[in-house]
């Protein structure tokens, strides 16, 4: 099982994503932003960080990088893709997921252990959770406010495509406290909090990041 981890200029959490992939026994394959080549991987993680310095808009320039030219059609074809933080922003800019991420409403960078409710345990990246399960993983961002028009929000809610919702106080002003969403097919998932930081004892508030990666292993085994 090969899981690709993309490195853009300015990616920060690609190394942790590679460790997380290894922690569940899969082979991590580094993917380079400048190569339109997915190297025959079975799934892809778009990691956190500040691709292209967050210039223009977060994720806006990464969207047009060569690796995305290969990834966008593959994701539309069913390849499991997880976008974490900046990766989520890239997925929204690429129109693989609806909506956009804007600056936190309180204007401060957030860095905290965040409680989330898993609202969809049927995606490629969440099948090892229970529906309604509460998890705690790291949240760290300056532009994590999820926004979309009401019609899009209603559609996401109606189709069960809100995958994670913030529990407790809304940390960044996200509309309807949405922390993560999926596409119609359930293979593309984006969220602001960081599962890859919560896979090893002694680091992070929990091991609640592990099921993301065991879920995709199962999805890949079934594919």
């Amino acid at each position: 099982m090969k899981i690709g981890v993309v490195t853009f200029p300015g990616s920060l959490d690609d190394r942790d994503a590679v460790r997380a992939v290894g922690a569940v026994g899969a082979e991590a394959v580094p993917l380079w932003h400048g190569d339109a080549d997915l190297r025959a991987v079975d799934a892809v993680v778009l990691p956190g960080g500040f691709s292209y310095g967050d210039y223009l808009r977060c994720g806006a320039i990464a969207r047009f990088s060569p690796v995305m030219e290969a990834l966008v059609p593959a994701a539309r074809g069913g390849l499991p893709v997880l976008g974490i933080c900046n990766g989520f922003q890239v997925l929204c800019e690429s129109h693989l997921l609806p909506g956009a991420l804007i600056r936190n409403d309180h204007r401060k960078f957030s860095c905290l252990d965040q409680r989330l409710v898993v609202e969809n345990a049927a995606t490629a990246w969440t099948s090892q959770f229970e529906q309604g399960q509460e998890i705690t993983i790291v949240l760290k961002n300056g532009e994590g406010g999820f926004v979309a028009d009401d019609r899009t929000l209603d559609e996401l809610e109606g189709e069960g495509r809100v995958v994670f919702r913030y529990a407790g106080d809304n940390p960044n002003g996200s509309y309807r406290a949405i922390a993560g969403i999926t596409n119609e097919r359930g293979n593309v998932v984006g969220l602001m909090p960081h599962p890859e930081h919560c896979v090893e004892p002694g680091y992070g508030p929990s091991l609640d990041g592990l099921p993301f990666f065991t879920s995709v292993l199962q999805a890949m085994a079934q594919a």
Binding site: I102, G145, V147
Partner: protein
């Protein structure tokens, strides 16, 4: 050499924390008459020679595709520099 000027603003319904931060400082400097500040972006695209309709058309496409995100932003103006807005 001519310039195409493109202005992009957040949609009115999208929260603008940067504008709010700027708006919060103005009263401290004695500017108390402004009730709201919204911050946008200006892009200046330079071409060889005078700006033509083709340049403006290409600039509009670039504005929709890359320079703005239609989910949260509006392209409010695409014009040749020096022309009326």
């Amino acid at each position: 050499m001519g310039n195409v000027v493109i202005d992009v603003m957040l949609k009115p319904e999208i929260l603008d924390p940067q504008g709010q931060a700027v708006g919060g400082v103005l009263p401290r400097l004695g500017f108390e008459q402004f009730t709201e500040v919204r911050q946008g972006k200006r892009f200046v695209l330079t071409v060889d020679g005078d700006v033509t309709q083709e340049h403006l058309s290409a600039a509009r496409q670039a504005a929709e595709k890359l320079l703005s995100n239609p989910v949260i932003e509006d392209v409010v103006s695409v014009r040749a520099e020096g022309s009326a807005q």
